[in-house]
């Protein structure tokens, strides 16, 4: 006997999306156990609300959105995390020499943990390369300009923390918010 429709659908969603959802959760939380819990919560919630999903093509942002809300719910119920201020982050690193060294994932996680969630979420989604600016803006319920501004500052912070400095480009260093 086959599975009921919604059961079949949720299993399909798990198969298709669990690796990236887990990675997103891990980058948000920095903990394998929390990431697994969040991923599990996300699919359980999706299972109970599957009937509310009207557009099948929106399933990916929908799942990411559920996961982020679950994460925010947990964060709010815990103590406030200490985050660095990005006010001092202005200049992007200048052009580094070839080849660029690989970034250690653990160091990246440390740097992410220093960012406030409002900067961390867009930069994770951006580097996953699965979401457009418009998608990220919808996920976070923010104007696209705000997302670009936060993203520029978060990227500048990560680059300054994780990538080596190098000789300048012909037109000099760029501000993190150049063109915004």
């Amino acid at each position: 006997m086959g599975l009921p429709g919604s059961q079949w659908r949720i299993q399909e969603l798990v198969e298709e999306h669990y690796p990236n959802l887990y990675r997103y959760a891990y980058r948000l939380t920095g903990s394998a156990a929390d990431a697994e819990d969040l991923t599990q919560d996300t699919f359980c919630k999706a299972q109970s609300q599957l009937g509310q999903l009207r557009q099948a093509e929106r399933v990916k942002p929908w799942l990411y959105s559920i996961l982020r809300n679950a994460y925010l719910h947990r964060v709010r119920s815990r103590q406030q995390q200490r985050c660095v201020s990005l006010d001092q982050v202005g200049d992007l690193p200048e052009a580094p020499a070839d080849p660029l060294p690989e970034v250690e994932p653990e160091r990246l996680q440390q740097a992410l943990a220093e960012l406030d969630e409002v900067f961390r979420t867009p930069v994770i989604l951006y580097y996953f390369e699965d979401f457009s600016y418009r998608d990220i803006a919808e996920q976070m319920d923010l104007p696209i300009g705000t997302v670009m501004s936060r993203l520029a500052r978060a990227k500048a912070y990560l680059r300054s923390r994780l990538l080596p400095a190098a000789p300048a480009l012909a037109d000099g260093p760029r501000r993190a918010t150049d063109g915004l």
Binding site: Q7, I10, Q11, V14, E15, Y18, P19, Y22, R23, Y26, R27, A32, E36, T39, Q40, F43, C44, Q47, S48, L92, P93, A95, P96, L100, P101, E102, V103, E104, P105, L108, I124, Y127, F128, E129, D130, F131, S132, Y133, R134, M148, K155, L158, R159, L162, L163, L169, A170, D171, R174, D178, G179, L180
Partner: protein, 246 residues
């Protein structure tokens, strides 16, 4: 296209997630071909992004994660333990509140009707002095019998004389009433619920005057009928088919 616009559009021209419309993408492409500075910025951006993007996605998946997730969604949804505990405590709290409310309700002190004050006031004011909350034409008696309040109407009256029934306020309580008219004489019957009024203490009491009062209990003692009438005689409102007893 100028350099400022080009650098703004670079953000929207990521290889895996292109967001530019074809004309804008073409214009940007032409600008980058002609502008070495902007082309260098694009190359730099990609070079800086690549190691960060690789590291961002470099998250090993725990062994058995897929199976655990599939198992979880295959199982019927379970209520978390904390939620069960919360539900149990909420249920207990609700039960305690209900019990307390029930105890309070059943032990609510009965209202002592001050018939002397009522009689005095009625004789100094029109008979309909008590504030009428709801009033219905008598033909609706069957369907709207007295605003949902428990009622037992006295049986021996001539209901052809019934002009109104409704709810009035009597000593702070909503009380159903029936109003009869025979010529110039009026009778109002207040139906007192024995659960709310101490009707036993007043049973059989008669007070005469321009407006007279008399209290009678229903056969099962659950209700008291307080008659307030003019003309000194109650039997003029009786059903001629039923022998008067008062």
């Amino acid at each position: 296209m100028d350099c400022r616009t080009a650098r703004l559009l670079l953000d929207f021209a990521r290889p895996r997630v292109p967001e530019l419309a074809a004309p804008e993408a073409d214009a940007l492409h032409r600008h980058l071909a002609d502008c070495p500075d902007c082309a260098a910025v694009q190359r730099l951006e990609r070079r800086l992004d690549e190691p960060l993007a690789r590291a961002m996605r470099d998250v090993p998946l725990p062994a058995g994660l897929r199976e655990r997730l599939l198992e979880k969604v295959a199982a019927p949804p379970t209520v978390p333990r904390w939620y069960r505990r919360k539900a149990v405590w909420s249920g207990l709290a609700a039960a305690v509140v209900l019990l307390a409310f029930g105890w309070y309700w059943f032990n609510l002190p009965l209202t002592q009707l001050d018939l002397a004050a009522l009689h005095e006031r009625a004789n100094n004011q029109p008979v309909s002095a008590h504030a009428v909350v709801e009033q219905f034409p008598h033909d609706r008696l069957q369907v709207a019998l007295l605003g949902g309040l428990a009622v037992e109407a006295p049986p021996r009256f001539n209901y052809n004389l019934l002009t109104y029934h409704g709810i009035c306020e009597l000593q702070g309580q909503r009380v159903p009433f029936l109003e009869f008219q025979n010529g110039s004489n009026l009778l109002r019957v207040y139906i007192l619920d024995g659960k709310r009024f101490d009707i036993q203490a007043l049973a059989g009491l008669v007070m005469s005057g321009r407006v007279s009062h008399r209290i009678e209990l229903s056969p099962d003692n659950r209700f008291g009928w307080l008659y307030e009438y003019t003309g000194g005689r109650l039997d003029r409102f009786f059903d001629p088919e039923v022998l008067p007893a008062i």
